[in-house]
Symmetry: C2
Subunit: 268 residues, 2 copies
């Protein structure tokens, strides 16, 4: 049996009682560690569960899925995912492969940023399409997310922007020298995301949908004791420091009086 | 201290470890019981927590909030919500009132249908605005959700439709006789929702966005052992019986090959 278990927002105790019971009985426990991060490290989790964990990077999950599935044919295997198991395409793919091999699977859901972002007081029903904001490089500055934000905003909808995560990225320089070395992990901050958005706005003189002075919300470490939420203008967010990862950004659409009241308590 | 604790999708064991620890230490525990339902009854929950529960209906939460907040000023009070605490406006309002009275509060997030709907294989990032489909009455047949679904569909986005719940609704006939009696609880099925949508389509000859033959997904009791997911045309869903509540409906937008593959496993 293959169990996909959501770990929720970051603390070991964010796992559900059901999830914890299953983890304890599984023979193999994998921890997916590249689409998000936990504030707790694998050692802390392992201790909390009383189980050894295999930390699975992208390569292991995408190329080593057969091995995980082979084990699930004969014994109980847990695959742990930060947030909810269906937050990333890779996990959907794993379920699909299990299903085509007739391996029974069960999903244990949990909170993810997609619903926990409600903590900022904006109504979840009034969010439009979610976008991802990637890190820009020297030669590649994609901005397709900008149009999606504007489409949402024109309809009065808020936009949740998921910010880029770079974990175990091969270092290009050492690759060219034939060595495999990894860059240190990077997590985009709301300030970096706001900075890219402001740059796009400055390049589009005809845009009158998303402005530098529009209200946005920066959220950091949602659900943790150090959670931070800040509401300000997009251009002011560029200067804000919300501390350690994970960060997410919300571009506000049309706001209900109750939403405005709530946001006021986070005004900066 | 006021704790708002999400209970997740329906089973007592869907509570998080953190949530359970807090419930056990609270002096007063309220269970919100009108924006959603648990498959488990309050008695089963109370036994699982080892705590007495006060079942709070809409009236109690909206009119009796002061009493809950007074208690939270001097002791630990838990307010339990099916799904995630920020799934309904009432709970946002409760947090806002606590905040204005300087009562400290903490939120324990959990899965809600808004992310657990990913179990049908449609990517959560490709959902547009969420809509609510209300029960029609003899004299009132609102259809504003139809335009929202079409707006999403035009942009290639899926729509999650939350279906109406009627819990503790005063019976009109007895009200006119001066008595307070309540109708039995009702939960809209995907078949009823599909039926209303088909009727709207038949009334709008100019609509070419949402058709009777479009692919939709009906989901029931997501996250429970009896979970059921069915993918078929909108008109065929009218005849489908997915069993007991809760049901939700998804209107598909443009589908990625991986999404199509996944949906095939639920084809009916």
């Amino acid at each position: 049996m293959l169990y996909l278990i959501g770990l929720g927002l970051g603390d070991p105790t964010d796992v559900t009682v059901k999830g914890l019971e299953i983890i304890k009985k599984c023979e193999h426990v994998y921890l997916e560690a590249y689409t998000s991060i936990l504030s707790a490290g694998p050692e802390e989790l392992s201790k909390f569960y009383g189980k050894e964990l295999v930390v699975a990077d992208r390569e292991m999950v995408e190329q080593g899925a057969d091995d995980i599935l082979e084990k699930a044919k004969v014994t109980d295997v847990a695959f742990l995912v930060v947030g909810d198991p269906f937050g990333a395409t890779t996990h959907t793919d794993l379920v699909l492969r299990a299903s085509s091999l007739n391996i029974p699977f069960q999903v244990v859901h949990n909170a993810s940023i997609l619903n926990a972002v409600g903590a900022c007081g904006l109504q979840l029903y009034s969010f439009g399409e979610t976008v991802s904001i990637p890190y820009w490089t020297e030669t590649w500055e994609p901005d397709s997310f900008f149009d999606k934000i504007c489409e949402n905003k024109k309809r009065g909808l808020h936009t949740l922007c998921l910010l880029d995560i770079k974990v175990k990225e091969p270092n290009l320089e050492s690759m060219m020298r034939g060595k495999v070395k990894y860059d240190p992990p990077r997590f985009m901050t709301v300030a970096q995301a706001a900075d890219q958005l402001v740059k796009i706005i400055d390049r589009k003189p005809d845009n009158d949908t998303l402005l530098r002075t529009d209200t946005v919300v920066g959220v950091a470490r949602i659900g943790s004791p150090t959670q931070k939420i800040v509401s300000c203008t997009l251009e002011n967010l560029v200067e804000m420091d919300l501390g350690p990862p994970l960060h997410s950004l919300v571009i506000c659409g049309k706001m209900h009086p109750l939403e405005l009241d709530f946001l006021k308590s986070f005004a900066s």
